[in-house]
């Protein structure tokens, strides 16, 4: 309890008294007159952002790279992770936090690929948030110097707004989706550090203009890198693995696997 005014810090968690016992200014709900306008100037998502920073510090202390993987449903997120888990086995520990509205079907697939996995079901929720990811990280307890992929709920809108504590954001788009996806969902693509075009093995059968897609990414998200790959025939996968291993906070000691690529 505050010795000067008698208010309880427990009812006033946003500001605390100084560590040396001095009385610093803080909000006293009882001080405000009826009808008074009180300036707050605070972020609406402050609570989520604070939890995300805690996740980020927890991951950094352990030398773990966390990647927030986002795309529309059916772009091949889980298939890419299954293939990555198998290819990287024994070289780069990969664990996965699976976000879906319902079922543990994706977690079962990832587990079968040899990875540690925790499934989050969001129910009606359309995105993961930092509190869900914090709980999942503590359940998963990934080893130091490893990679954790957070597979977000398939959705190109909502997940863009919520910081999970990740070090990087990766957005997938498959060649079976429209070339104009980056223009239709700029918020999502603008937040990406890496854009991955998936299912390139289907390129000959669909009307997807990869150079135009690249130009749109250049307009919406000029800082983002781009990789084209196929989790089916292995094209481009070494670039994806190199991208992951080069971002682990402390250097990965094991050599990266080589996957043959018909360029």
């Amino acid at each position: 309890m505050c010795a000067t005014c008698g208010c309880s810090p427990l009812s006033d968690p946003h500001q605390s008294h100084g560590s040396h016992g001095q009385h610093e200014p803080h909000e006293h709900p009882h001080d405000h007159r009826p009808g008074e306008e009180i300036t707050l100037e605070q972020k609406i998502l402050a609570k989520n952002d604070g939890l995300a920073q805690q996740n980020r510090a927890w991951l950094r202390d352990r030398g773990i790279l966390a990647v927030n993987l986002m795309s529309s449903p059916g772009s091949g997120k889980t298939t890419l992770l299954e293939r990555s888990g198998r290819d990287l086995a024994g070289r780069l520990p990969l664990s996965v936090i699976e976000g879906d509205q319902e079922t543990a079907l994706d977690a079962d697939r990832i587990r079968d690929a040899g990875c540690q996995v925790v499934q989050i079901n969001t129910g009606a929720g359309c995105h993961l948030d930092a509190a869900m990811v914090g709980g999942a990280l503590r359940a998963l307890y990934p080893p130091p110097n490893s990679v954790v992929i957070i597979e977000n709920v398939g959705n190109l809108v909502c997940p863009a707004l919520f910081d999970l504590g990740e070090a990087a954001r990766v957005v997938l788009a498959s060649v079976t989706e429209g070339t104009d996806k980056p223009l239709k969902y700029p918020q999502m693509f603008r937040s990406a550090d890496l854009v991955v075009v998936t299912k390139t093995d289907l390129g000959p059968y669909v009307d997807f203009d990869i150079s135009r897609f690249g130009a749109y990414i250049g307009q919406v998200s000029p800082q983002a890198m781009m990789i084209h790959l196929s989790a089916l025939d292995g094209t481009g996968l070494p670039l994806w693995y190199d991208w992951l291993s080069s971002r682990i906070p402390t250097a990965a000691t094991a050599p990266m696997p080589r996957v043959s690529t018909p360029d």
């Binding site: 009812s11 006033d12 968690p13 946003h14 909000e27 709900p29 405000h32 007159r33 009826p34 009808g35 008074e36 306008e37 009180i38 300036t39 707050l40 100037e41 605070q42 972020k43 609406i44 998502l45 402050a46 609570k47 989520n48 929720g125 359309c126 995105h127 948030d129 809108v157 909502c158 863009a160 707004l161 919520f162 223009l183 700029p186 918020q187 603008r190 250049g218 307009q219 919406v220 000029p222």
Partner: protein, 110 residues
């Protein structure tokens, strides 16, 4: 419908700052590039505030325009289109200075 989570964040933010006080109005700033749709937020605000000290409060939303700065020519400008942030010089290498904010600016207490 992430606006429901935004509305819940708003209720949490206000009730933590002013525990136990009945709130009659809330002013928020929803930047043009924030990804939040004001009408959807109004709809969700009514749901999220039910049974809380914000129940029945007015929600006033201001929507500040996006402001950008070109990394190539240095021009400060307001993009005409929130979709592609393109400098009049033709460069897409621009930094967003403001427009992404989601802020609770002030509240009125009963």
């Amino acid at each position: 419908m992430h606006e429901l989570a935004i509305a819940e964040g708003l209720v949490d933010g206000v009730t933590e700052r002013l525990p136990g006080r009945k709130i009659t109005s809330v002013r928020v700033e929803i930047g043009a590039l924030s990804g939040v749709v004001p009408d959807a937020l109004r709809f969700c605000f009514a749901l999220a505030t039910e049974g809380t000290p914000l129940d029945g409060a007015d929600l006033e939303i201001s929507e500040p325009a996006a402001k950008c700065e070109c990394a190539d020519c240095g021009l400060a400008f307001e993009p005409e289109d929130g979709r592609i942030l393109l400098c009049p010089c033709g460069s897409a290498n621009v930094a967003v200075v403001s427009g992404q904010q989601l802020l609770i600016t002030s509240v009125k207490v009963a």
